[in-house]
Amino acid sequence: MRDWKRYVREHLALPDIEGTLESSVIEEIASELEDCYREARSGGATAEEADAEARELVTDWSELASDISSSRRFAAAPRIEQRVEDKEVAIRGRGGPWIPLADLLQDLRFAVRRLRRAPLFTAIAVLTLGLGIGANTTTFSVVNGILLRPLPHIDTDGLVTVWQTLPSEGLYRLSVSFPLYEEWLELNAVFEDLGVYSREEHKLTGGDHPESIEGTRVTSGVFAALNVPPVLGRTFLPEDDQVGARSLVVLSHGMWQLRFGSDSSVVGQTMEVDEEDYTIAGVMPPGFSFPTGSELWTTFSDEAKQSYGSYLRAIARLKAGLSLSQAQREMESLTAQLAETSPRERDYGVRVVSYMDEVVGNVRGALLLLFGAAGMVLLIACANMANLLLVKATERYKELAVRTAVGANRGQLVRQLLSESVTLSIVGGAVGSLAAIASLRPFLALLPPGIPRVTEIAVDHRVLVFSVLLSLLTGVMVGLLPVLTTGRIRLSTVLQGASRSIAGNRQGNRVQAALVVSETALTFVLLVSAGLLIKSFVRLTSIDPGFERNNMLTFYIEPEGERYGSEDRLRAFYLELSERLESVPGVQAITSSSQMPFADGTMSNFVRVDNQLGEEPTLVECSIVPASYFRVMGIPILAGRAFTPEEDRDPTTPVAIVTQAMADRYWPGGRAVGRRIKVVEGDSESAWLTVVGVADDVHHQGLNVEPQAKFYWPFSLRTDDDQTYVLKTAVDPSSAFSAVQAAVWAIDPNILMTRIATLDDLISESVAGPRFLAVLVFGLATLAAVLAVVGIFGVLAYTVAQRTHEIGIRMALGAEKNNVILNVLRRALILVGTGLAIGFALALVAARVLESALFEVSPWDTTTLLAVALLLTTAAMAASCVPARRATRVDPVEALRQE
């Protein structure tokens, strides 16, 4: 006969149990096996048969070992034991999952089976949760791509933008000049690297007609600060910044592939940029783009390096260990020091800002607003689902009670209920996320222009993890509420035949009511936000820009090269161009400006005014325009006159036209016509310009930006400035463009025409952001409203069904149908009213977030608040009508019979 003790010892591994205890276990099991063997032998079995029969008593030794280890008799450290009757949930010291995986899979299988038996409920639940999770996945994709993802290649830690400021004028983002940059470079103690750059559109030739490419002029410090090594060649060195250095260009990876066929010997070759030869110094890695969209980087011209013009942006990397605030203090100190030696700089300040904030700061608020709105929609969807599951739990009360009776503990019941809600939310999340992924590209195409990093928005691992975690959290949230509300499930309660149920009891009713009130409150906030944003957008678009916007085609041209090397030649070119353009069919009138509203940025100059001679010159916007400008643009001359055609040609006539805003600022209450101003540029001043007219104000940078003080000077005085042309057409402007282009190229086929658009499109683009935000929030708010109204309907319908017996009794005792209806409607009104009250309070808090996105609309706009409250109340009352009428159809006899 086998040595059964040895046999058991060889098969049974009990690492948690030692010594006599282990021996005892082994001996006991061995004695059982021996008893079996002996009995089989006495029954006539052979030794082998009896041995096999005994060995069959234990087939899974590892399961036996784990069961023995987990039993309380063998409690041994380290092991944590839950205080539950069912030892299956004891946590094992080895750190494995404390819920047997088999049980979890079983729960999931049951959940799927149960959900398949209720297809309508499952479909509604999946759709509801899918909408909420999908909306959040989409907004998170955008938030992730813009705010969270690191910039490709560029380490933004310690990377800053440095602005000059002019607090007295309320200006905090002023470009800098080369001289100022050089002083900062020499004297600062906070930057590891510092550089300046300027975006430009470059002309590349080589085809039939020139091509416009976005590029950036940079100093070597920019590449040093960004610290991204090229894949070929090198970037710029400090010696390349010196006057007299040769012109160099660094290519983007895309440009290198497209124009040079990824030729590895491209470094050292020459390419023509803006009709000048540049030597290719290097190629940047794929995906590198600074600023976004730049295809090549060139050194500054000698002329630019010696210019006093303030048009440069400064970027720097802080020295290791320095904080932003330290850098700010140091630069302020340096600026004060510079002001002592240069009185002109006295009023200027400096601002050091994180580069990432510069890139995304203007959209961060709007994005977070959208994310919050999507989150609210999900909460509302969860509230609806929780209510649905609460009702479902009622139908299973008896089943749950019986399970408890046969040994299932609360943990197992919780797991079962949660597995259903989690399954629903995972499926809903998968559906919603797939829809979000599929619709991401079309959604991005609708984004307004000017949103940074749009090309970097994609569904990456972060988005997928977010979607999965959100689905799990949603499932737990909606499933937990019915579980927490069940309390102790008693079989005796079921046996007593009580009609008590989970949701029908007082606690359940309160929970349902609380959910509906919460939904209503959140929906109110969303609808108010949407209403305010729409009102703000309507206000914005009703603003008159101050000029004619219909059928106005604009484009930008910049004549370059030897051919236009003198003012006379430039003037002759522009005059010939005007004549040719006027003869294009469909063109009614043409004009131009150095700074076209909505098409170009602003230009500013310091001016000295005749009645403020003792004071420092002040900064004022300016534009260079021909005589036709005010007439063609439809800008009224409020006093005096416009420029004359003679003044277009004669540079010795020093005149200017000011805007009403400038007249009010410098000659308040007086007459501006006849006054004089002088333009101050560096150390030189122009001759006195006599004000010959006052023009009405125009919006230049946006409909929401107040027109600033501005003056116009005639075309003849500054021919060297680039011009944006405007053509008033009798037909659709886009249909005239080919003819216009032909007219330009007839003079010079190498002229580059860029920034082609209609003024109407430009203005429309300028409000695309507010429009997009309003539409999106409105869409989310509508979805929320539908969910909330459905939620109210569901709760009331369920309440009526639950109270059928009570209603029956009332009607049997003589209650009028109207009273029954009023009862139901009163309950609905209480729910909605409470929700609105809380919603009002939440809206006051949300107002602070919304304020910056509104234009001339108060976030506490009473009309909007009241209108939304009325709308929600009406919708809720309408939803309550059906259950109210159903209540009146209760047959008192039937209702009584249900007892």
């Binding site: 008593l57 089943e399 019986v402 399970r403 046969v406 299932a408 005796s492």
Partner: protein, 122 residues
């Protein structure tokens, strides 16, 4: 003893929960009249159920350990003359109370089942 299938409940409900609940009841009731050892308990269950209920040592032994840990039963090595020593289990006072509670629960359960499976309600 026969298993009763309840239409609206999941099949596998019986496997882990019910079996666990019923085994403890079985073991406690078998120990009520006198102490027994593990192998004897298993054989008794099989005999008295007409072979319908078979619990192997791998199922019984951990439950005996658990109940001993709870203080419902007490195990003791007994050596009879001419025989190998065996571990006998007997009910404790706590075990007697636990047996009474389990019997009550079992009656409630079967009553509830019958309420559901009966064709009509009063």
């Amino acid at each position: 003893m026969k298993y009763v299938y309840i239409q609206y409940m999941e099949d596998a409900l019986f496997s882990p929960a019910l079996k666990k609940g019923s085994v403890e009841l079985l073991l406690l009731s078998l120990l009520e009249d006198r102490p027994r050892h593990g192998y004897e308990i298993g054989k008794l269950i099989e005999e008295r159920s007409g072979g319908r209920l078979v619990f192997r040592i791998s199922s019984l032994y951990p439950i005996l350990c658990r109940m001993e840990g709870r203080g419902w039963i007490e195990g003791r090595w007994v050596e009879k003359p001419g025989e190998r020593r065996r571990r006998f289990y007997r009910l404790t006072k706590k075990g007697v109370a636990a047996l009474a509670a389990q019997r009550r629960t079992w009656k409630e359960y079967t009553h509830a089942v019958n309420l559901v499976v009966e064709p009509s309600h009063a």
